[in-house]
Amino acid sequence: MTARPRKSKRGIPRADIAKSTSFNPVEIAEAGRRIYDRQRAAFERHHHGQYVLIDIRTERVFIGESPEAAYHQATAEQSEGPFYLVRVGQRAAFRSRRQPNGDAARIAR
């Protein structure tokens, strides 16, 4: 018999990463997005352009003007992650002109 996914107070299933000790980027990103989406409207209203670092296990949120500022807040409060990092109002926190597989796929624009 399989256990039902654990649910948050709002009834949204939490990712297994919250109980896992392994580092799975896809699971962390999915769990992070779910937590972020629950508060998206508030973030976009009050923190546009800032960086939001979410501790996936505790669902605590740290906001800063840079990724480093958000991380320093998290470590100051002994938050250990794993974390999901978002830039509020952007499709992605970072931009790169290169393709993920490096030099050979460099895009010239």
Partner: protein, 137 residues
């Protein structure tokens, strides 16, 4: 004030030498490409990150020039640039053997990036006043 001299590689891309390490580990010197199209702090090949003992701590997303986005594992790393040391998120990239520094590193170290292809000049300076008229510092 520290002025750091870099170089151009065979494809005329600007390189600077940095030292990278885990926050409490030994540093390794590497030549890093300066890429102003990369908005992160530093990007390391997965193999290099493993050799340095960096611990994956976070995940984020990067958007590429073709509009696609990808999931990027991040590790907290220490970077030494000349006499100065700062910490930030390293993007751990599989399928690449390049070390890249981005505009976040220039912001964190408060450096001005000077590049002249014709003069083969690559500099990281603290202030424009560090550039002497008529020649490199």
């Amino acid at each position: 004030m520290a002025t750091l001299h870099g170089s151009l590689d065979s494809s005329r891309s600007p390189l600077v030498t940095i030292a990278v390490s885990a926050p409490s580990g030994p540093s390794h010197f590497v030549d890093a490409l300066v890429d102003t199209g990369f908005t992160g702090f530093v990007q390391l090949p997965e193999r290099r990150a493993r050799e340095l003992g960096l611990a994956l701590q976070a995940v984020s997303e990067a958007q590429y020039a073709d509009g696609r986005t990808g999931t990027i594992p991040l590790a907290w790393a220490k970077v030494t640039l000349g006499p100065e040391v700062r910490e930030g998120f390293a993007h751990v990239q599989s399928g690449s053997d390049e070390v890249i520094v981005g505009v976040e590193l220039l912001r964190v170290f408060q450096k001005i990036f000077v590049l002249s292809i014709t003069e083969s000049l690559v500099l990281l300076v603290d202030a424009l006043a560090d550039l002497q008229p008529g020649g490199a510092p």
